[in-house]
Each structure stands twice: as C-alpha cells, then as structure tokens.
C-alpha cells in the first residue's frame, strides 16, 4: 500500500472511532444518576423553576434529539457551560491544557533521556552492577503506585527536608504574565527569571513521578533491543575491521536499537495522560487531569464530556502520528 493511501485509510478510521468516542461519552454522561438540575438549583427549587431549567438545558427533549444537539454542539467546539465554574467548558479546557502539556513534555524528555541511557548501559555492561541496578530500578518503576510514591517524596523533600515545594506550578505570591500558558516558556519570553527558576523547582517531583514508569518501560525495551543489535553480524564486522568499541556502540548499534524505542514512546504517551490524572491530583497541578477528576467528583457533566473527549482526541492523534511514522519507516506495517 502507498503511504498516502495508508494515511487516508487511517484518517477515515479515526473519524469513525472519534464518532464512537462521542457516543460513549454521551451515554456515560447521561447515565450519571445525579440530577443535573438539582445540582444547579439545589434540592428545594420550585417545580416551575426546575421545568424551566430542564427546558433550558434541553433535558425535556427526546433522548435522540439530545444526542443530535450534543453532537452538533461538539462539532462546533461547544461543550456547553461547566456547572461548577459556569464558564464555557472549552475556555476552561484551554486554560488547564498548557499545564498538562508542560508536565507531559518535561516527563517524556526525562523518561527518554534516562530510559535510553539506562537501557544502553544495561545492555553494554550486561550482568554488571549498572545492569542489575537498572533492572531493579525499572521493575520498581512499573510496580510502585505513582500516587503513593508521590506522597512519600512530598513527605521527604517537602515536609522533612524542605528542599522542594509540595505542589502547584509556581509559588502563590508570584503572578507570571500569561503568554502561551506554558509557564517556563512564558517566563523566558518575558524575562521573569525568578518565575522560571521557581517553576523549575515545582516541576521536579511531578516530572519524576509522571515520567518514572515510562522511564522504566523505555529502559526495558532499550536493553532488549540493544542486546539484539549487539549480536548482529554487522556489529561483529565493525569490531573486526578495527573500530573502537565506543564508536561501534554509539554510531552503529545505538541508531538501530532506537527504532523500537520510538514506537514505545508513542505508546507511553497514553500512559502519560492516565498518569497525569493522578500526578496532577497529588501535586495540585492545575492541568486537564485534575480538571477531569474534579468534574467527575462534582458530576459536572458538560466538563466531564469536554475533558474526556479532549483527552481521547489528543491520544488518538498521537497514536495516529506514531503509526504513520512507523509506516514511513517500515513498509511492512502498512497492512
């Protein structure tokens, strides 16, 4: 299959899947047993006011019409107004999204750098100390509950040692100028260096907690892939023709060993979005994950549907990009 027709086929499939996502989210938010009208007006509102509110929210229409209204709204980027902040959900999401992007990017950078380094060292020095260390570090990374480890790190680095803050994106008394919403980038643009360093300090623990399990997966894949490559004939050839070991590993082996790692990075992104929900809750990080948790706990159904659809969209687009990249690299994947 040509790459262009592969991309076209995947895009059509994605439209179908996104339509399904919208239906699932609609069903989920409509079976929420709590009465949204009661949530807005309180329990003792007069029946006339309740009816008026039901009419205003479109809840008196047949369920099929409600579905059409909802789909029409979503296609126009309108998820309705949050029942808690009473602002439009899309405004809320755009305000919370940059914090999640900032955290996700710093975590994935951390995970890729540390994960590939550990995996590489682990394979090159197989069965030596660094290999054992990296394998224990990795198995712990996929086993320790992030929400618990986060609390324990807060206990040590905030309560006991006082080295790092316990949460938030920056200290309360700072009021950085908002340009893009990415605090680090904004503070560089505006030259507010005190904000920049403050934000870095706030980023350390959440980045570690969110990136740890990805680091572990990347290190495991990298180790296996590197061991595979190191046994290939061309590596032996390179060594035999007298190239130093370091050159062979860094120039010949590493580049080939990185290919499977590229895929796993894409897959890890989904885990990262799931993890962001927990990490943001623990570290009071003002991102999309915490927004969704709060809206679920308060049964704020327009916010729930907006948030989950947004997360599913980001996730699907990332997966699509990874698939396309992979198909471009390896024609066998275009089946």
């Amino acid at each position: 299959m040509e790459l262009s027709s592969f991309i076209l086929k995947r895009l059509i499939l994605m439209v179908v899947v996104i339509f399904g996502v919208l239906i699932i989210v609609f069903v989920v938010t409509r079976i929420i047993p709590a009465d949204p009208v009661g949530a807005i007006l309180g329990g003792n509102a007069p029946p006339a006011a309740v009816d008026a509110m039901r009419h205003q929210l479109g809840l008196d229409k047949p369920i099929f019409m409600q579905l059409l209204d909802y789909l029409g709204g979503v296609l126009r980027g309108n998820f309705g107004n949050s029942l808690v902040s009473s602002r439009s959900v899309i405004t809320d999401i755009l305000e919370y999204l940059p914090a999640t992007i900032e955290l996700a990017i710093s975590s994935i950078i951390f995970a890729v750098l540390l994960g590939t380094t550990l995996g590489l060292l682990s394979a090159v020095f197989r069965n030596r100390f660094i290999d054992h260390f990296s394998r224990v570090f990795s198995i712990l990374g996929i086993s320790l509950p992030g929400f618990w480890l986060g609390l324990i790190l807060i206990l040590f680095f905030y309560y006991r040692l006082g080295w790092l803050p316990s949460g938030g994106q920056y200290d309360m008394f700072l009021s950085p100028t908002r340009v893009t919403g990415l605090v680090l980038l904004d503070s560089v643009i505006t030259g507010e260096w005190n904000v920049f360093f403050n934000a870095i300090k706030h980023l350390i623990l959440p980045t570690f907690i969110l990136g740890y399990s990805s680091t572990a997966s990347i290190a495991r894949i990298m180790r296996a892939s590197m061991l595979d490559v190191l046994h290939q004939n061309y590596i032996r050839t390179a060594r035999a023709k007298g190239l130093p070991k370091k050159t062979v590993i860094l120039r010949h082996a590493l580049r080939n060993a990185l290919i499977p790692v590229v895929t796993i990075i894409g897959l890890e992104f989904g885990g990262l979005l799931s993890g962001a929900v927990l990490t943001e809750t623990i570290f009071s990080w003002p991102g999309l994950g915490r927004y969704i948790v709060n809206s679920l706990l308060t049964l704020d159904y327009p916010a729930i549907s907006g948030g989950t659809i947004f997360i599913a969209l980001i996730y699907s687009v990332v997966n699509l990009v990874v698939d396309i990249l992979y198909a471009a690299l390896d024609p066998r994947m275009r089946a």
Binding site: I31, I139, S143, L144, W148, L273, S274, V277, L296, Y315
Partner: protein, 305 residues
C-alpha cells in the same frame, strides 16, 4: 497416542513404565520448565510474594490482630508500636489489620475483573476472528473506540457514571480491560479457523457455535492466560488508583488505595497511614510483575533453548 487394546495385557508396573515412556517428552518439558523457573530467581521471588499474598487473603480474619473497622478515638493517630506495628489511623483503627483485611478485597478485585474481561474479550475476539469480514470490522472498530481513551480515564468516567462504589469500580475496569483479550483472541481465532482440521469438522456438519466453543476456544486460551498474569499488576494499580481518587471503594472499606487516600491529609505527622498500605500495593504489584516477566521468559523459545 496410547493404544487401549494393548493396555489390558500389560501388568500394573510395566503399564506405569509404558505410561512414563510415552509421556517422556511432556514430562521432560515440565522438568525443563521447573529447571528454568529455578534458574530465574526473580520469577521465584514473584511466586513467593504471590503465594504469601494469597495465603494472607485466605487466613486474613485469623491473621488480623484487631478489627479493621473498630474505632477508638481516644487513641487516634498513634505511631507504630509493638502492639500496633503499622500504627493507628485517624479513627484509631489498626492500620495493619486494615491492610491484612484489604488483601481479600484486592484478591476479589483481581479475580472478578479477570473473569469478566476475559469472558467479554473471548466472545468478541473469537466471533470477530472466526467469522471475519463485516462482523470482524464492526467488532474491531468498537474495540478501537474503547482503546481511543487512556485506560484510567475511561475507567474513571464509567466508575463516576455508575456511582463510585467498589462493585462499580470493578465493572468499570472490566469494561476497559476486555480489549486486551479481544485482540489476542481474535488473532488466535484467525490462525485457527484456516487450519485443515476445522475445515474437516465443518465438513462433518458441526455448527459454527460448536466449532467456536469446542475447537477455537480451547486453542486460544493459553496466550490469554499468559497475558493475564502480565495484566494482574496493572489491574491492582488501576483499582487502587480509582480508590485513591475517591471513584472506587468507599470508606470504611479497607481497600488499599482508599486507605492511602485516607492518610493523605495526615501525611506530615502521621506518615504510617499512607506508607504501609502503599507498600502493600507496591509489593503485590511487584510480585505479579516479576511472575509475569518470569512466565514470559520461560515460554520464550529464544530463552528456552
């Protein structure tokens, strides 16, 4: 294959020897697996952890020194001591007893979620893979839709919509987990349906349902079991995460994630309420992951050689 006609003539002892001789390849295989198991110390550690976990769950009421829900406000937030190794929580409940009784909740979470998700996954996967064509296309697109969400986010949405309780958290996670098994079962069913013996059975007149239940299902179960051992750690983590977020088991149920969440407000001065149940989650998940890794390695033909 044993020949039943010759069996009757052989005396008991030689029949046993005959049996051993015929089964030698299989017995060697088992012996080799046990040998590999012993050679993989981490898998052994995992096995020990999981056995301990199951034993604790089995004998929980005998092992727990106090009631997991009896409160004693006069002794609330007491630090760990010889009488209460894990300390007391904000209601004066013994944290160790809560962690021990919690093992039963975790075991039931794993068992119920595994059963539900495997049943749904097998049905969807086998039907899709066996029939192929438009049925396959529809079922796999439905699977894709569930996979379009990050797992935890979808489980959270289901749990909240159904109202947060332990039962609903179990249903919610099952509704997310089945996709793993559906994809596996589909791949197996596609491989099996083109085998000549399936053709033969169909020619004899077996119905599609019969072929799927008696011939495709048994053949596709083993990769599913392997996958299951790898998923169990994740299942506990997801359930604990829901409990922690308040979307799963509710107090006073001693679900580990919910206890960690309980202790969060007392973290600064009373770390034990958070630390110990979290450690229990960590050790159990570690056990399942080590076991899963070990099983994968042992079954991997490249390592088996």
């Amino acid at each position: 294959m044993r020949k039943p006609s010759s069996d009757k003539k052989i005396s008991g002892q030689s029949a046993f020897r005959e049996f051993l001789r015929e089964r030698k390849p299989m017995l060697d295989d088992v012996r080799h697996t046990v040998y590999l198991w012993k050679k993989t110390p981490l898998a052994l550690v995992g096995t020990v952890i999981i056995c301990l976990f199951l034993l604790v769950a089995l004998f929980a009421p005998l092992l727990a020194p106090y009631s997991p829900i009896a409160t004693d406000l006069s002794r609330k937030l007491e630090a760990p001591s010889a009488a209460h190794p894990f300390g007391l929580d904000q209601f004066g409940r013994d944290v160790l007893s809560r962690v021990i009784m919690g093992t039963r909740i975790e075991v039931s979470i794993i068992v119920i979620i595994s059963v539900i998700s495997i049943v749904i996954g097998l049905i969807v996967g086998i039907v899709a893979g066996y029939f192929g064509g438009i049925i396959d296309e529809i079922l796999m697109r439905i699977t894709d839709i569930f996979l379009a969400f990050p797992r935890l986010v979808l489980a959270m949405a289901f749990a909240a919509a159904l109202r947060p309780t332990l039962t609903n958290a179990i249903i919610a996670i099952s509704l997310v987990e089945w996709t793993v098994y559906a994809r596996l079962a589909r791949a197996e069913a596609m491989k099996i349906r083109s085998q000549p013996y399936i053709e033969a059975i169909r020619a004899v007149g077996a119905s599609n349902i019969k072929i799927m239940v008696f011939h495709v299902l048994p053949m596709s179960i083993s990769p599913i079991i392997v996958q299951l051992t790898m998923r169990m750690g994740t299942i506990i983590l997801t359930a604990a995460s829901l409990g922690f977020l308040g979307l799963g088991a509710q107090p006073p149920l001693p679900e580990w994630g919910a206890i960690v969440s309980d202790g969060r407000s007392y973290l600064m001065n009373n770390w034990w309420i958070t630390a110990f149940p979290g450690m229990a989650i960590a050790v159990t998940v570690l056990g399942f992951n080590l076991l899963g890794d070990g099983i994968r390695d042992i079954l991997d033909p490249r390592i088996r050689r």
